[in-house]
Amino acid sequence: MATSNPSVFLLTVNGQIEGANFPEYDDLYCKYCFVYGHDWAPTTGLEEGITQITRKNSQSSHRLIWNFPLETTFKSTNPSGWPQLVVSVYGPDVFGNDVVRGYGATHVPFTPGQHTRTIPMFVPEPTWRLQKFTGWLLGRRPEYTDPKVVAQGEGREVTRVRSQGFVTVSFHILTKDMKKMGYDIGPSSPANSASVTSGWSTEEQQ
């Protein structure tokens, strides 16, 4: 229960990977993982996951729907290294090889409430044209050594990427004890502050 002087604050991330918009591709699935700093530790929930393969509706929309729930709680002592959600989308190419269709990352929103994020996706480009061709032929496109690369800024300058579709993620964020630790996130009315001290603050900030 809420103690008067907490030593950690909690961040609960609920939500779902709603779907994606990849106009050219079909039969995609999505992997996600959270990347966070040293001072963060997940307390419950899955840190990584993989969605079902989804196929576009043949008629109306071109959206791929996963509706894959995210539910993770982090505890932390330091907002530095705020969790980021890294998603990577894979699907078969013409020859049926599983290739990557996009990488993307977004920070978990830090204001409590409901948020929707549309993550632009990209894939690394082959160095040479010939590689592009052979990659296409053999189904071995360039991939990041680790999808978590897209959550860091270091060393990205050596890569070239091509943008590729979007993934939509909705978040429902709850934080606890952040205010008590002295981290003020966004405006809050005095009415809210009462609820903040009492526990989880769920007021919507949008």
Binding site: F9, H38, N78, L130, P142, Y144, T159
Partner: protein
């Protein structure tokens, strides 16, 4: 738990008791009137719940006491029968606690129930029950009556409920059973409440298991089968399969049975009917709760009996309820309706006696009905028919009424296709996101409103060139003349001279007045002040006037001069280009008055000047007098001094007074330089003053009486026509005519308009006269006019004129046209008369006095705000304009705004303000005065220093001190710096107080202990020092790598397929044809796992032990030393019968020990796979951590020896005891780091066998047949074939390819890079090294490491008369004795640092490379031909060996072991030779094979060995990095001896520690004997051990069975020695009479290289 028979008996008893009590109660309570009870019952039947509660409350209370008394009595009686079982009691308790929940829930369901708490409930029930008891007979009638009806009703209802209720019942069954076991108090109707909470809390499984039985019972009861007896029988059968439920079940049933029995008693023949109801009763309990009155009756009835029953009475037996499938369906069919899809006959659908009428037939229009499939229609009809008023849906024709189909057949909308390519382009929606303009904020507020339109009028009237490249000389002069004239005109207009003269006159008269009034006497201080001020003012004014007058005069002179020049020029060139004409108008003056004025003026001036000079003189004089006084004073002093001195000196010596005096004066003279004698000031001569004044007057003023000259310039002159001009002039004029100009108007840097193009006039004026009205929406930022010159079709930008944005008050009509000057620095030259621009030009005949003219001119234009219809200026509001100077300052300068004022030089402003005599009352100056006041009040102190970031403090997070003090910040900082202790530190606490000091302890300790040497762990101070040093290097290297880690290349981030070459493609194609299951499968590469998501136990070390060769065999025990067993002597049957050796292999790793089965013979074959678990230190499976694992895999070969002792036991006869001993034969150790970096190790290794193995001998060539034996004889020793790998395969840490700085030549580096790249492309599996990194982290070319270096002198002197061989072996041994420490272990990253030989000898630890380099250098200095081999070997992987060429054969030296091999040696561990290095060159192997056996090692053959330095790129003469000479420290024998003792002590302690359960006895005699052997072994370097040694031992120790061996190790630390001893397993001998012997010998070599011998033996007395 009571058995069923018990229960039966009890039941019977209880029944009897019940009957008794019932009759008793009847008798007792018969007095009660019947009426109220019936009334009550009726009430209960009809009234709501509330009422019964209210009515019952009172009698309940009154009756309670009597009842209690009764109960007490009855209880006593019943007590003997009662058998309350513990478990049941528990259950009761449990339920009773839960009960309130149920009660509450019940009350929640009904609002009226709120009155009923559990207590009142029970209370009321007591009341009820007692009342019921009082009137049993009367009540029973009514009850029976009532119950009957009720039950009938309920039966119906319950049936309808069907199965679902049964389930519910099952779920609350466990609760209901308790009724039977409980006191009547707790028995309430709430027990039976459907309580999800309770049912959930009870185990679901018993409920489920009971369900089936219940159903069975229910079925039977439902059929009305069971009567009391039947039910009794039924329930007394023990049919319960699961005892835990048994009691529950039976209790439930018994209770029910009892109930039925009771009823039988009461109601006699009604019982049967009741019975039927009984079945559903339970189901109905729920109903009871919901219906108001019923439960009371029910409870009353129940409680009535319950009260007086012991728990056993409630063990009611009831049939398990089961409803059969048919039954089920039947029930369902009562509630469910499945519409059939058969056609409904028309007759049903129509009202009776009606015929269907078909409108269609009657000719009426009937629309087409919407299509519904026939089945669906039938279903619908059937469904409707079931409904009430279903008929109304049918029409006359017997069909469902329907409107005609509303759907049109053809679609009214164009079809939409969603395939992308098919989308009609006209229908495509293009979504464009609304973009916010970045100019949005530039709009003037309100600009969008219709009334808020702003208009800027730009009037471009024309331009005049003051210089143009096409000017002729005359033009230049003309322009100058015009300019001067302009100046003249402006001066005239301003008339400064006149003003100043007037002012001067005024001042003079004022002064005069003052003097007159006061008469020159008794001037007050203030008056004097004013007087002096006035005179000062006069002086400055006069000076100003004089200068102005001078200017006027020079201007006039200049005008005249230029005009004269023009005239001269016109005459010279014989034509005129300009129309200028200067007239000088003479204005005559009255000579007399003029002269008088002039004289007055001069006189006045002279007087003033005189007065001034007088004043000046007085001042100077005063000063002079003062100075004179001082001087005199000083003079006097001097004299006095001199006199004194003279007197003194006279007193001393009389003769040389003169000299002394002179000397004194000389010496004093320079010392005391007095003030110089001041000069008296000169009084100025009045005549000269007058002279000066007059001169000046004549210079700057016209002469008195002279006419005033007024120049007038007119352009009325005529220009010579072009025909009359010379050709060059004509050309110029033509050029002029060709030019035209236009002006572009740019608003906010955007061209908004341009004027018409006007041709250039001959007078270089262009008239535009155009007004542009700009309607603007953006804030005006700049208005720019660009002047363009057009020549033909090309136009060029001549100049830009920036026009200020007008104030809002500036509106069209009231603004004069302003002239803006412009100029251009373009250089233009012409070959005609045009003078050009930026070209020097002279008007003098001799070409001197050159001028350079630039194109320039004036643009006359005006910019103003337009005026609207009703005279409203169309200007934006003022607020957007910057305010006054000072407010503007404040706004512009954030620094002053924040408050860091005083940065401006207030003093200067102040000075300026006082000087300029600002009127403090002028409102215009108010702000400045204010500022000055503020500034001067606080004596403005501008800071004496300059700060770069004067706002830093404002932005500092915390102060530096606080940052230092805070532990949390410190932790965060250290982590950010990636300090080893804090790297990847998780969860830095959020609060300061939670950071404990403990966190830093280790770190601080390390910092503190940097210098302190811990000798305890290292036994040797030098080693400790070295370890520290190594640690330091390691840290610096790690820091470097940490930096390097942050540099990425593409392959770090992106996995990309290599471009497949043709060869690979071909191979892949070839692979398709490969057999799927080849007969000889090859080991395939497994998928590699990045070591991130691993945990303990995930990694296993797989060790496949295949076979061994040449294991030493046992020597038969023989007490005769002389008899040497020879193989030749052995008979063949000995060979067959005698077990030579029974070896097995034991592998120990991280203290896990596994062993193979035992095989036979000296060449065993095991072929076994052992799996050893691997756990990383601290569970950290990162690459860096795995690389630094120092653990080693010990593979020991043991001999299993079985000893048998026959024991004769008197009782049991003879028995044989046998015990197994294992004798160590040899070991191979492989560091984990090698396995990790190699990922697999496959090969045959030489087993490290002890030099002497007591009890064993090498027996070989029993049959010297076959080549194999011959081959084997080449290599001595035992060999074992192994395959080691890890599961899963880990990715070894990537090498750091950071470019290190280097002092090498850039060409060399490039060449080496190219060399390595080519090598890697051509032969990817051959290591090629040309540059290496030294300890300083610099890239160094490899050949620099090779240089002949002297080995220790004592080795060279060792065998003075022997040939080289032993010496080189000795040197190799010395090198091998330096402990080996892989770089990747010490540097935790896969980097290879090369240290020079002196560094290596200082560190006494190094990789194979260092060993190899040192050995190679020694060999070179010994005059051998030696090379460094860069190659791969087993088990080390990429390594360095040494190659020597002597006696026409090549020898390969393993520098780490000191062994050497011939080129064709089978067991040479070197597998691949990549390149050879010597001091001059690097050769890369480009032969087909890599194994030394199949190579030609002749590096001179260029087609086999590719040299680095060739003819095209010759050796640049690289100097060596090695020192000239190695200096060796003398061996320290005393230290070695000390170390020897310490090792021995530690080992003994360890062995005792390993044998915690057995006493460890040391055989001192044996130890001393062994100790004597060890130096001998060292001398012989472990070889050539004489047989005598063993015999000696044997003879010494007599009948002891001895097994033992010496171990030999290079010394680095104590830990490896202990490990090695442990791995031999000597300590594990279990025999009771075992004794041990341990001897240690440390042999010192130069430079503290130590060779450690440990002799271990175990003795068993036989």
């Amino acid at each position: 738990m009571a058995s069923s028979s018990d229960i039966r008996e009890k039941l019977r008893k209880k029944r009897r008791a019940l009957q008794e009590t019932l009759t008793k109660s009847k008798n007792e309570d018969d007095v009660q009137a019947l009426v109220p009870s019936t009334k009550l019952s009726e009430e209960k039947r009809q009234t709501t719940m509330q009422e019964p509660v209210g009515s019952e409350e009172d009698p309940g209370e009154t009756l309670k006491r009597t009842i209690r008394a009764q109960r007490q009595r009855r209880k006593k009686r019943l007590l003997e029968q009662t058998l309350v079982q513990e478990s049941h009691d528990d259950d009761v308790e449990e339920i009773s606690t839960i009960q309130p929940d149920g009660a509450e829930e019940g009350s929640a369901e009904k609002a009226d129930d709120s009155v009923i708490s559990l207590r009142s409930q029970t209370g009321s029930q007591k009341g009820l029950s007692s009342r019921a008891q009082q009137t049993p007979s009367a009540q029973s009638q009514s009850i029976d009556d009532f119950v009957k009806r009720r039950l009938e009703e309920r039966l119906r209802a319950a049936r309808s409920k069907g199965e679902s209720l049964q389930q519910q019942e099952a779920s609350f069954e466990p609760a209901s059973r308790l009724q039977g076991l409980r006191d009547r108090d707790t028995v309430t109707r709430f027990d039976r409440e459907v309580d999800p909470d309770r049912s959930g809390r009870h185990d679901a499984s018993p409920a489920l298991s009971t369900r089936a039985k219940l159903r069975e019972t229910a079925r039977r009861i439902g059929k009305g089968l069971p009567n009391a007896e039947e039910a009794y029988n039924f329930f007394t059968f023990n049919f319960e399969p699961d005892p835990p439920d048994g009691s529950e079940r039976s209790s439930v049933k018994r209770r029910k049975q009892r109930k039925t029995a009771d009823r039988d008693e009461d109601r006699g023949d009604e019982a049967e009917e009741q019975e039927e109801a009984e079945a559903d009763e339970e189901n109905e309990e729920e109903n009871e709760n919901q219906s108001e009155e019923a439960p009371l009756v029910q409870n009353e009835e129940e409680d009535l009996f319950v009260i007086d029953q012991s728990p056993q009475d409630f063990l009611e037996v009831k049939k398990a309820v089961y409803i059969g499938y048919q039954n089920h369906i039947q029930r369902e069919s009562e509630h469910l309706f499945t519409p059939s899809f058969r056609t409904v006959p028309t007759s049903v659908k129509l009202p009776e006696n009606m015929k269907p009428r078909y409108l269609e037939d009657e000719g009426l229009y009937v629309g087409e009905r919407p299509h519904v499939s026939l089945t669906n229609e039938n279903i619908l009809e059937n469904r409707i028919l079931k409904m009430e008023e279903g008929m109304k849906w049918f029409g006359d024709d017997g069909r469902i009424m329907a409107l005609p189909d509303p759907i049109k057949e053809s679609s009214t909308r164009p079809p939409l296709f969603h395939m992308e390519e098919d989308v009609d382009p006209s229908l495509q929606t293009v979504y464009r996101k609304a973009l916010k303009s970045k100019y949005a904020n530039l709009y003037i507020a309100g600009a969008a409103d219709p009334e808020g339109d702003y208009q800027l009028d730009v009037d471009v009237s024309g331009l005049i060139f003051s210089h143009h490249p096409l000017f002729s000389r005359e033009h230049v002069l003309g322009a100058r003349l015009a300019q001067l004239y302009d100046q003249y005109l402006t001066r005239q207009h301003n008339n400064l001279t006149g003003h100043l003269t007037d002012k001067l006159n005024g001042l003079r008269s004022a002064l005069r007045n003052m003097l007159e009034i006061h008469g020159g006497q008794s001037l007050t201080q203030a008056m004097q002040q004013r007087f002096s001020e006035y005179s000062l003012e006069i002086r400055t004014t006069r000076q100003l006037r004089d200068s102005e007058q001078e200017k006027d005069r020079t201007l006039l002179k200049n005008i005249v001069k230029v005009w004269k020049e023009i005239k001269a020029l016109r005459e010279f060139q014989k034509f005129s280009n300009t129309p200028y004409k200067l007239y000088l108008r003479r204005e005559n003056v009255d000579r007399a008055s003029d002269e008088r004025e002039h004289e007055d003026e001069i006189l006045a001036e002279v007087v003033e000047l005189e007065a001034e000079s007088e004043e000046d003189y007085q001042k100077k004089l005063a000063e002079y007098n003062k100075q004179l006084e001082e001087w005199k004073l000083w003079r006097r002093k001097q004299k006095a001094k001199k006199k004194k001195k003279k007197k003194k000196k006279k007193g001393q010596t009389h003769e040389d007074t003169e000299d002394e005096d002179q000397e004194a004066s000389e010496s004093e003279g320079p010392v005391e330089e007095g003030p110089p004698k001041p000069e008296p000031p000169e009084r100025l001569d009045f005549d000269s003053i007058e002279q000066q004044v007059r001169e000046k007057a004549s210079r700057i003023r016209r002469k008195p009486g002279e006419a005033i000259l007024i120049p007038e310039l007119s352009a009325s002159g005529n220009i010579t026509a072009s025909e009359l001009c010379p050709r060059s002039e004509t050309a110029r004029r033509q050029d002029v005519a060709r030019r035209s100009l236009f002006i572009k108007i740019l608003y906010n840097d955007k061209e908004v308009s341009r004027t018409d193009s006007r041709s250039l006039n001959t007078d270089f004026r262009v008239h535009f006269g155009q007004i542009f009205n700009l309607k603007i929406v953006h804030c005006p930022q700049s208005i720019n006019l660009q002047v363009f010159e057009e020549i033909g079709s090309s136009c060029s930008l001549l100049a830009r004129v920036f026009v200020p944005v007008p104030e809002p008050s500036v509106v069209t009509g009231n603004v004069p046209v302003e002239e803006y000057e412009f100029s251009s620095n373009q250089r233009v030259m012409f070959d005609h008369e045009g003078v050009g621009s930026d070209v020097p030009l002279s008007f003098e005949a001799d070409g001197s006095n050159k001028q350079t003219l630039l194109t320039s001119g004036k643009l006359s234009c005006c910019v103003s705000w337009g005026i609207g219809e009703d005279d409203v200026p169309l200007a934006p509001p003022v607020s957007q304009q910057p305010g006054g100077i000072h407010s503007g300052l404040g706004r512009l300068d954030a620094v002053t705004y924040i408050g860091a004022s005083g940065l401006y030089d207030m003093k200067k402003i102040g000075e300026w303000a006082t000087q300029s005599r600002l009127d403090p009352n002028d409102p215009k100056n108010a702000s400045i005065m204010q500022l000055l006041k503020v500034a001067s009040s606080g004596e403005v102190t501008a800071p004496e220093y300059f700060r770069l970031e004067h706002l830093q403090e404002e932005f500092n997070f915390v102060t530096d001190e606080e940052l230092e003090r805070s532990k949390r910040f410190r932790l965060l900082r250290l982590r950010n710096q990636e300090v080893a202790e804090f790297r990847n530190y998780k969860c830095v606490p959020a609060l300061e107080r939670e950071v404990t000091d403990k966190v830093f302890q280790e770190y601080e300790k390390r910092l503190k202990e940097g210098e302190i040497i811990d000798t305890k762990e290292h036994l040797d101070s030098h080693r400790a020092l070295v370890a520290k040093y190594l640690q330091k290097i390691r840290e610096s290297v790690i820091n470097r790598f940490l930096l390097a880690k942050h540099h990425y290349i593409l392959s770090d981030l992106v996995i990309e397929e290599e471009i497949p070459s043709i060869g690979i493609l071909g191979l892949n194609l070839f692979k398709l044809a490969e057999p799927k299951r080849p007969l000889k499968p090859q080991r395939k590469e497994r998928k590699k796992v990045t070591a991130q998501n691993l945990s303990d136990g995930d990694i296993k070390l797989l060790i496949n032990i295949i076979r061994a060769f040449d294991i030493p065999i046992r020597r038969p025990q023989s007490n005769k030393p002389g008899q040497v067993p020879q193989s030749a002597i052995q008979s063949s049957d000995w060979f067959l019968n005698q077990v030579q050796v029974r070896p097995f292999v034991e592998v120990s790793f991280q203290r896990t020990v596994l062993q193979t089965t035992t095989a036979d013979g000296p060449n065993p074959c095991w072929n076994e796979e052992l799996q050893l678990p691997f756990s990383a230190p601290n569970g950290d499976y990162s690459n860096a951590s795995l690389q630094s694992v120092k653990d080693e895999v010990f593979i020991n070969i043991f001999d299993e020896v079985v000893h048998e002792t026959g024991v004769n036991d008197k009782d049991r006869g003879k028995s044989i005891h046998s015990w197994v001993e294992k004798h160590w034969l040899g070991s191979v150790k492989i560091p984990f780091s090698t396995i990790y970096s190699q990922s697999r190790i496959d090969g045959t290794f030489k087993v490290n066998t002890p030099a002497v193995l007591l009890g064993y001998s090498k027996e070989r060539s029993h049959g010297a047949n076959g080549g194999y034996d011959f081959m084997r004889s080449l290599s001595e020793g035992t060999f074992i074939t192994l395959f080691i790998t890890m599961e899963p395969q880990l990715v070894p840490g990537e090498t750091i390819r950071e470019k290190f700085d280097s002092q090498e030549d850039e060409h060399l580096l490039q060449a080496s890079e190219r060399f390595e790249r080519e090598a890697a492309q051509g032969y990817p599996d051959r290591p090629c090294v040309s540059t290496v990194i030294d300890l300083n982290g610099k890239t160094v070319f490899i050949t620099r490491f090779i240089r002949p270096l002297n080995p220790p002198q004592e080795f060279l002197d060792a065998f003075p008369n022997n040939p080289r061989k032993p010496r080189s072996a000795l040197v190799a041994r010395f090198v091998s004795l330096i402990p080996s420490l892989p770089d990747r272990v010490s540097f935790s990253g896969a980097c290879d640092l090369w240290s020079t030989c002196d560094q290596f000898l200082t560190l006494l630890a190094g990789d194979e490379e260092e060993h190899a380099v040192l050995l190679c250098n020694y060999f070179l200095s010994m005059g051998k031909k030696a090379w460094l081999i860069i190659g791969t070997a087993i088990p080390e992987g990429p390594t360095a060996y040494v190659l020597t060429y002597e006696q026409s054969r090549y020898l390969i030296w393993n520098p780490s072991s000191g062994q050497y091999y011939g080129q064709y040696d089978t067991f040479c561990p070197l597998q691949t030779i990549g390149c050879l290095v010597n001091a001059d060159n690097v050769w890369f192997n480009i032969q087909e094979y890599t194994t030394p056996m199949r190579l030609s090692l002749d590096v001179t053959k260029a087609n086999l060995w590719k040299p680095f330095f060739s003819r095209s790129f010759s050796h640049p003469g690289l100097s060596s990095v090695q020192p000239e000479e190695l200096v060796y420290r003398r061996t320290d024998k005393a230290a070695a001896a000390e170390l020897q003792d310490r090792i021995e002590k530690i080992l003994k302690e360890k062995i005792m520690e390993w044998r915690p359960r057995h006493p460890t006895r040391w055989n001192r005699y044996c130890t001393t004997t062994l100790k004597q052997f060890l130096p001998k072994l060292e001398m012989s370097r472990g070889q050539d051990v004489t047989e005598g040694h063993r015999h000696e031992l044997q003879s010494l120790l007599g009948e002891n069975r001895i097994s033992g061996f010496p171990l030999h190790l290079p010394f680095s630390e104590i830990r490896p020695i202990v490990e090695a001893v442990y791995s031999t397993g000597v300590h594990s001998v279990q025999a009771s009479n075992v004794e041990f012997a341990l001897a240690v010998y440390v042999h010192p070599y130069p430079n503290n290289v130590l060779s450690v011998w440990v002799y271990l033996a175990s003795l068993v007395r036989t």
